[in-house]
């Protein structure tokens, strides 16, 4: 299942968004996903993709495609860190 498909499922099931409205270029505003809904969505993304989001949610996620790109980036980083045996938790401050 593609990232877009699984994100669409979450938006339809948990946020009451009509499936036909979820397209790559649909804006989160049009789908009535406000900033707090987006924060909550991050918990669901963590569960669905087995990733841990440690940084603040980016403020430049405007469209569904932006969210898909963000998730794909998280997943790629997780795979990379596993490959090199590194911890996902940022070390040092």
């Amino acid at each position: 299942m593609s990232t877009l498909d699984s994100l669409t499922d979450i938006l339809v099931r948990d946020y009451g968004v009509a499936r036909e409205k979820v397209t790559s270029d649909a804006t989160l505003a049009i789908l009535k996903i406000d900033s707090l809904s987006l924060l909550e969505l991050m918990f669901k993304i963590e569960d669905r993709y087995g990733v841990k989001i440690t940084e603040d949610t980016p403020t430049d996620l405007v469209t569904v495609n932006d969210v898909v790109g963000y998730i794909d980036g998280l997943v790629a980083r997780r795979l990379k860190s596993r490959a090199v045996g590194a911890s996902e938790v940022p070390s040092g401050k």
Binding site: D14, G16, L36, S37, L39, E40
Partner: protein, 414 residues
């Protein structure tokens, strides 16, 4: 200037024993109790795990995405307020919305959300606090949501004076209409305290009733020598208050007049009630309604079932009404629906209005052993039907010392 009068044109109730004012009153008249054993998830470890809950599932009223933004207290409030608007046959589209407002009383606000958040942090040791937690838990959420849903852009306020919160909300809303600042006010109260942390905190105060081992539903026994405390309940009750001529002009159903409101404070101790504070609130309500003590036909008592309250309230009623106190029916319906804290005043005002409409006074149940300190006519055990109730008083007294008294007058009095 003549004071503008306040009509009660709509009522809505989501409470133990009934999800409408009619259903509730029918059950109260029959002496049924809404007190029962609570689920272990709510009350584990309690010595007396009892409460009065509402038969209510938010999923039947709100879609899933919206439910996440509504603590149970807001769900109950929105449904009861919606009922009141429908009952008043009021379409706000024809109103000057900036002259319509919402006043809500709540002691604890979104207590369930707060409880859940702490559970997440302390018990689960997770940092996944729901982003909506603050908005769901804030005490003014019910009032704000009602305002948003009905697009009422006049004053929207929340009163939190513990157990008198919604009596204050109704009284203050009536004042806004009296003085000409508003034409229509949606006012009432909501409370959803049947969550683990809140129940245990109340238990720690030693004010909750001991569970009756034979019959848990009979655990709350106001004015009885065997009373052991109050039983917590949840729910919401709302009224549409309307300037009298405004209601008449649109042909609204007028249930009663909210004719009196008295407000005083005890200022002696954070929990201990005073005879003077309660008596002065009753006198102030009578004065504002321009009524004599002889005019009062029924008193819905605060009657929590605690040792202190019931004796002090009895003394205060005697201080105000003198010998006549003994011939006024006084009942505590909390014996059946429990103590709804911030929603109690509004619920019991609605019950008082129902007494006017039905010419019936509900009983005080489980009063099986008279207390010499409580020697009034408490309508023990059985409703009194077919009596003329033209003026009913509703008492609400609170921790913190805010005493609020409301008076409902029947319509045919005018």
């Amino acid at each position: 200037m003549t004071q503008r009068r306040v009509a009660v044109t709509g009522m809505g109730v989501v409470a133990p024993l009934g999800n409408s004012s009619e259903e509730l009153f029918t059950n109260l008249r029959a002496g049924r109790s809404g007190v029962h054993r609570l689920a272990d998830s709510q009350a584990r470890g309690m010595r007396s795990p009892i409460g009065a809950s509402v038969s209510f599932d938010g999923r039947a009223h709100f879609p899933e995405p919206r439910l996440r933004m509504l603590d149970r207290v807001s769900q109950l409030a929105l449904v009861a307020a919606g009922q009141a608007v429908a009952d008043a046959r009021l379409d706000f589209a024809g109103e000057r919305r900036e002259r319509c407002g919402v006043f809500v009383g709540s002691a604890l606000g979104g207590a369930g959300t707060t409880d859940e958040g702490y559970h997440t942090l302390y018990a689960e040791r997770s940092d996944r606090i729901q982003p909506y937690s603050v908005l769901n838990a804030m005490t003014n959420a019910p009032a704000s949501w009602i305002g948003i849903d009905h697009e009422l852009s006049g004053p929207i306020l929340t009163y939190s004076t513990a157990c008198s919160s919604s009596a204050v909300a109704l009284g203050e809303a009536a004042r806004r209409i009296n003085c000409g600042e508003a034409d229509v006010m949606l006012a009432g109260g909501a409370e959803a305290p049947l969550v683990f942390g809140v129940l245990r905190a109340w238990e720690a105060m030693r004010t909750l009733a001991t569970e009756d081992p034979q019959d848990p539903s009979a655990s709350c026994r106001p004015f009885s020598r065997t009373r052991t405390g109050l039983v917590l309940g949840e729910g919401a009750a709302f009224a549409v208050l309307e300037e009298w001529n405004h209601a008449v002009a649109r042909g609204a159903p007028i249930h009663a007049e909210l004719s009196g409101y008295g407000l005083t404070s005890d200022v002696t101790h954070i929990t201990r009630p005073t005879v003077a504070g309660q008596a002065n609130a009753m006198r102030a309500a009578l004065d504002s309604a321009i009524l004599h003590p002889n005019d009062v036909d029924y008193i819905n008592a605060h009657g929590t079932g605690t040792l202190q309250n019931d004796a002090v309230e009895t003394a205060a009623i005697k201080a105000v009404f003198g010998e006549r106190a003994y011939s006024i029916p006084v009942s505590s319906t909390k014996s059946m629906h429990g103590h709804l804290l911030g929603a109690a005043g509004a619920l019991e005002f609605v019950i008082a209005v129902m007494c006017l409409k039905r010419a019936t006074v509900p009983p005080t149940m489980h009063l099986n052993s008279p207390d010499p300190a409580c020697d009034l006519d408490y309508v023990a055990g059985k409703a009194r039907d077919g009596i003329s109730v033209r003026t009913a008083m509703s008492n609400s007294f609170a921790f913190g010392g805010t005493n609020a008294v409301l008076i409902a007058k029947s319509v045919d009095r005018h």
